[in-house]
């Protein structure tokens, strides 16, 4: 019997950080040692534990304090150097008359709030797809107005393009080895209710008619990625994003939706060896090279 592997060596082995020969020895040992295999699983558990520990949200008073400080800094800058005042220079993207001051923190907050109201008022859950093949039955269609929003299943203001599919096409990710079909629920996810909203969205997604079309061929999927539109948005980065967020495990939900009134995608993953489902809320910048993670939760599976 070979010697057991130390925790430190096992952790480095798991990161691919051991030399080839040592890695081969560890690998051989793991194949016949339950104890070290368990230890390896426990190390994986540390990662999952860390991932499932929520960071407390930034207290509003602290956020306001920083925003005020930045506003003061901006005012100071203008006072020190009036030449940099907007309107006296050609600013990128600011041709024409000065814009309304929509972008001050308060205005942005108000805007976000207004957006959230619009979403909640009009955001019917469209669990029906024009892309869905004819196998989608009437009973499936009757389920289209899901339980997730106040209003019924009207086409919402936040789904401007008519015929935007609510159940999207199968998209390949992870080097074409796996696929997922995004949905556009119109939900405005919120930190306080994220768990409940995700649970409801998962239920609705399960009753949604699944596209039975074969996944887009990999070449076709990558041929004209820029034109991929879904949920009123370009989602060309979505497969890369999902591959990054969920390199392992089963993707249960990809919802092209909103979070706190802003564009966001909610990705729910069932990791291979965990009871808890991992919920990732990512911003529009999420891609194969950047996570753009806005929030993360771990919710009980079931």
């Amino acid at each position: 019997m070979t010697r057991h592997v130390s925790t430190a060596a096992l952790a480095r082995f798991r990161e691919g950080e051991l030399g080839q020969r040592r890695a081969a020895r560890v690998s051989a040992h793991l194949s016949r040692c339950a104890r070290c295999t368990d230890l390896s699983a426990e190390l994986a558990g540390i990662t999952m534990l860390l991932a499932s520990t929520q960071a407390p949200a930034m207290p509003e008073r602290l956020a306001t304090r920083i925003q005020d400080t930045l506003a003061a800094e901006a005012a100071r800058r203008v006072a020190l150097d009036p030449g940099t005042e907007p309107g006296r220079r050609d600013l990128p993207g600011r041709a024409g008359p000065p814009r309304r001051r929509l972008s001050s923190p308060v205005a942005v907050r108000a805007l976000a709030a207004a957006g959230a109201v619009a979403v909640l008022a009009g955001g019917g859950y469209l669990a029906f797809s024009q892309n869905t093949p004819s196998t989608a039955s009437g009973s499936a269609a009757s389920r289209r107005a899901g339980p997730l929003s106040g209003a019924g299943g009207q086409h919402a203001a936040n789904q401007p393009a008519t015929g935007v599919p609510a159940a999207g096409p199968q998209l390949l990710y992870g080097h074409g080895k796996a696929s997922f079909a995004p949905v556009a629920s119109g939900i405005n996810y919120r930190p306080a209710t994220l768990t409940q909203q995700v649970t409801a969205a998962l239920l609705s997604a399960q009753t949604m008619p699944r596209p039975t079309t074969a996944p887009l061929a990999h070449s076709a999927a990558s041929a004209s990625p820029d034109v991929r539109q879904f949920g009123g948005r370009t989602v060309r980065a979505l497969p890369g994003c999902v591959g990054r967020i969920a390199p392992r495990g089963r993707v249960l939900l990809v919802d092209v939706a909103r979070y706190q009134g802003r564009q966001a995608t909610v990705i729910v993953v069932a990791p291979p060896s965990a009871a808890a489902r991992q919920v990732w809320v990512v911003g529009p910048a999420c891609s194969a090279s950047s996570g753009d993670v806005l929030a993360h939760r771990s919710i009980p599976g079931g």
């Binding site: 130390s6 925790t7 430190a8 096992l10 952790a11 480095r12 990161e15 950080e17 104890r35 230890l39 699983a41 426990e42 190390l43 540390i46 999952m48 534990l49 860390l50 991932a51 520990t53 960071a55 407390p56 949200a57 930034m58 207290p59 602290l62 920083i66 925003q67 400080t69 930045l70 506003a71 800094e73 901006a74 005012a75 800058r77 203008v78 030449g83 940099t84 907007p86 600013l91 990128p92 600011r94 814009r99 001051r101 972008s103 001050s104 923190p105 942005v108 805007l111 203001a157 401007p160 393009a161 009123g232 948005r233 990054r244 967020i245 090279s289 996570g291 993670v293 806005l294 993360h296």
Partner: protein, 221 residues
């Protein structure tokens, strides 16, 4: 590309454009950039420093620094990476300064001892206990390991992104993460609920040695 109707183009200009506007004198652009990224920057800071006021100070210092240094941003990394790097550095500065002062880690030690003694296992549903234990354990890690684990394991950044943020090689990120996880294991193994059931967590004591574990000796029932 045409914006879909209803999408206000000015609602989400790219980060780089906001930064350019800021450099050109737009008084609102930087605030917008902060608003956009504040939750993630905050998560990094609060996880690294484990103290609200310290974390807020670090984020504030970092944002003022970024505000003033924006003109020197060369665009060789993403704006978010750059912002994260400034926040992480502000946090590490604070940790270093704190380390130079006499340690006040008694509460951490006590929390970990309690946890290791298995007393919190009786209430596995308590999220705050878990969070406290994780926080306390993280605080005992060397700063480099802590910041690598905060970025990669807690906040889900890729090794490459974490390397960019920390200004170290991906290999160093990996080895810091590996060493950090190995250190955390004996402190946190009792919190893992999804994996080995508490009564069978026979390898908890194995974390620190390479001898065969004693079966089931470490979990008072």
């Amino acid at each position: 590309m045409a914006q879909p109707p209803g999408e206000r183009a000015e609602e989400r200009p790219p980060d780089a454009e906001l930064l350019a506007r800021h450099v050109a004198g737009d008084p609102d652009a930087f605030g917008q950039l902060f608003l956009r990224h504040r939750d993630r920057l905050w998560a990094v800071a609060i996880r690294t420093l484990a103290d609200q006021e310290e974390a807020a100070d670090a984020v504030q210092d970092a944002m003022i620094s970024a505000f003033r240094r924006a003109g020197s941003f060369r665009g060789d990394s993403a704006v978010t990476t750059w912002l994260h790097r400034i926040v992480v550095n502000a946090c590490l500065d604070r940790l270093r300064r704190k380390a130079a002062r006499p340690a006040a880690g008694g509460s951490d030690e006590a929390a970990l001892d309690r946890a290791a003694a298995g007393r919190t296992v009786s209430d596995p549903s308590s999220r705050s206990d878990t969070s406290l234990d994780v926080t306390a354990a993280l605080r005992r890690l060397p700063h480099g390991q802590r910041s690598a684990l905060v970025l990669v394991d807690m906040l889900g950044y890729s090794v490459a992104d974490a390397a960019g943020i920390l200004g170290i090689s991906p290999g160093t990120v990996k080895s810091r993460c590996a060493r950090g996880r190995a250190r955390l294991l004996p402190w946190l193994a009792h919190l893992r609920q999804g994996g080995v059931p508490a009564g069978q967590a026979r390898n908890r004591s194995a974390a620190t040695d390479v001898l065969p574990a004693q079966e089931g000796g470490d979990n008072p029932s």
